[in-house]
């Protein structure tokens, strides 16, 4: 059987993920992984997933988004809300599956709704509006209270007391306190499966007719429009899929921790920027690179924990130096002169 280059490339990407998964399983079963390392495995998968999602938006669609953690936040809260409500009535597997579908569904819905105004803008204006939407989602959730009792659902934007619950009632989303006690349904295996599914979705999209239309819009939207490509439709499509995958990362995040809060650390613009760093260092438009960069850059500050106070300092210096070495026109020219064409990747 002959396989073309792109299929081979994609198979290598899946192969790397599966191989990494098997390696970690072997290490874990032979007791070579510390409990600290084990705790880092699931975050690694959801950061890889959201990096893939953001790369679809930044690298393939070509629109800079610095609010992607907002979609992750939507996915996390809607799915955790559902899991919390049905914790006693549904069996674990089915419940998580439904929560997963609900999480990505709502993230996609928000991606679609936010995409309508956002995608009319261009460049940095678009970037700042995605940042604004991310912050709005986080702020509103921090002031959002919802609970239920025998009379049904109550919700408020003021305080928990304002819900006016009966004595038998229960608060589900408690404002800045978030959702407490979501069942731990998502482990490392689930994370890897979701990562593989997201990779399949994105890689197949890129190699399809739709994907080529999206990349044509990125390269020159006027030429694309002149060739009869429906620019709005394809932009919306890529943005919505990207939001849905970010939502999937949120589902895994919320089903792996005990207390889910809409904190700046996980869902603020800083978090979105951190994901953007993964995407840029992994290679804009290079999906495999995003996965690898997300894993390495997530682990780097954690592994530097021994250096305690200096770890973020070292991280920031590494970041600056790597950017200059990778992107500065003068350095690139110097590398070409010294090493010939070795080590210079061909630009597509």
């Amino acid at each position: 059987m002959r396989i073309d280059k792109k299929t081979k490339d994609n198979l290598i990407t899946y192969g790397i993920v599966v191989a990494a998964f098997l390696l970690i399983q072997v290490l874990a079963s032979t007791g070579h992984l510390s409990s600290h390392m084990k705790g880092l495995l699931v975050p690694m998968t959801y950061y890889a997933i959201i990096a893939v999602a953001l790369n679809l938006c930044v690298g393939i669609l070509g629109e800079l988004s610095i609010g992607h953690c907002g979609f992750m936040c939507i996915g996390a809260f809607t799915s955790a809300f559902f899991s919390k409500l049905t914790e006693e009535t549904l069996p674990g597997g089915l419940r998580f599956f439904l929560a997963f579908v609900i999480g990505i569904g709502f993230a996609a819905l928000f991606g679609f709704l936010i995409g309508i105004p956002v995608l009319r803008l261009k460049g940095d204006y678009l970037a700042i509006v995605t940042l604004a939407f991310g912050e709005i989602i986080k702020n509103v959730l921090n002031a959002f209270y919802i609970g239920y009792d025998s009379k049904g659902f109550h919700f408020s934007m003021k305080s928990q007391m304002d819900l006016g619950l009966e004595p038998d009632g229960d608060t589900v989303i408690n404002g800045a306190m978030g959702i407490m006690g979501t069942p731990h349904d998502a482990g490392f295996t689930v994370g890897i499966i979701v990562l593989l599914i997201s990779l399949m979705v994105v890689l197949n999209l890129i190699n399809s007719r739709d994907g080529r239309a999206i990349m044509a819009i990125r390269d020159n939207y006027i030429a694309a429009e002149a060739s009869g490509i429906n620019v709005t439709r394809y932009k919306m499509m890529a943005f919505t899929i990207s939001a849905a995958i970010a939502g999937a990362a949120g589902v895994i995040y919320s089903h792996n921790i005990t207390t889910l809060t809409a904190s700046s650390q996980y869902f603020g613009y800083n978090a979105s920027i951190m994901i953007l760093v993964y995407v840029v260092l992994g290679g804009i438009g290079n999906i495999r690179g995003s996965v690898i960069a997300a894993c390495i850059l997530y682990l780097l500050p954690e592994l530097l924990r021994g250096l305690n106070k200096y770890r973020m300092l070292i991280y920031s210096i590494v970041l600056i130096v790597m950017m200059i070495v990778n992107w500065s026109p003068k350095v690139i020219e110097w590398r070409k002169r010294t090493f010939g064409n070795l080590g210079i990747k061909k630009k597509i």
Binding site: R120, Y125, I128, Y269, N270, V277, M323, I324, N326, P329
Partner: protein, 298 residues
Amino acid sequence: MSFLTYLINGLSLGSIYAIIALGYTMVYGIAKMLNFAHGDFIMVGCYIIFSVSGAIGGGSTMGVILSVILSVVLCSLLGITTEFIAYRPLRGAASPLAVLITAIGVSYLLENVALLIFGADVKSFSSVITWQGLSFADGQLRIQGVTIVTIVVSLVILICLQLFINKTKQGQAMLAVAEDKGAATLMGINVNKTIMLTFAIGSALAAVAGALLCSAYPNLSPYVGAMPGIKAFVAAVLGGIGSIPGAMIGGLVLGIVEILSKTYISSQLSDAIVFGILVIVLIVKPTGILGKVIQEKV
């Protein structure tokens, strides 16, 4: 009367945002880059004032003036150095995202250096303005000294900047570089020097904003500049990025909306309302209030 007080407070906060936004918008207009580290220059400026007035023994007028001047000078030197080491090598890089990520790296670097030197605990910043302020209508309407000074300083800065850009040769060079770097080089303008000057002015403005910000809200930590930095960026975009009067208008609108929504609607939702205003303005007018619409040629 209380409404008037809140309005004036909003005006004062807005003036601080406006000063920061002026720096943002100048750097963006000329270097075409989002300087995410701009907010951290504010923080650096505050720490310089804090340490210098601590060393001299704060309270004396001379000490205060000296510390503010030192902070302005050191901040502009820091701006020039950052531009030279981190941003200049990436000018003309294949992707505009490269310099954006580097700016994020610089922001992390400054925050962590401050964290190492001063620690994570919140320091109490003693105001650089000791004047108590004015009182109107039998003390019903009190305006604090820092509020008045902030508004006056921002107006003076706006007028000076407008004069500088429109009347001096250096200012005209800035406009030319903002318009077209290649053509400006052909006209004999030193692009590198012009960009350096812009960074120096922008960072000096950040130091001034820092002094005013920490005098009004006296809690000093390594992350003090982050949120005002982002809000000022929002203000610059709101007014039309690259436009100096636009940055001023954007800053004032943002400050007033923030204070009024904090008071009358909800303190938790005030940020959401501020960002919501940005979204609405950009949907109606995609290049901001005073932004130029540039028609793309095929």
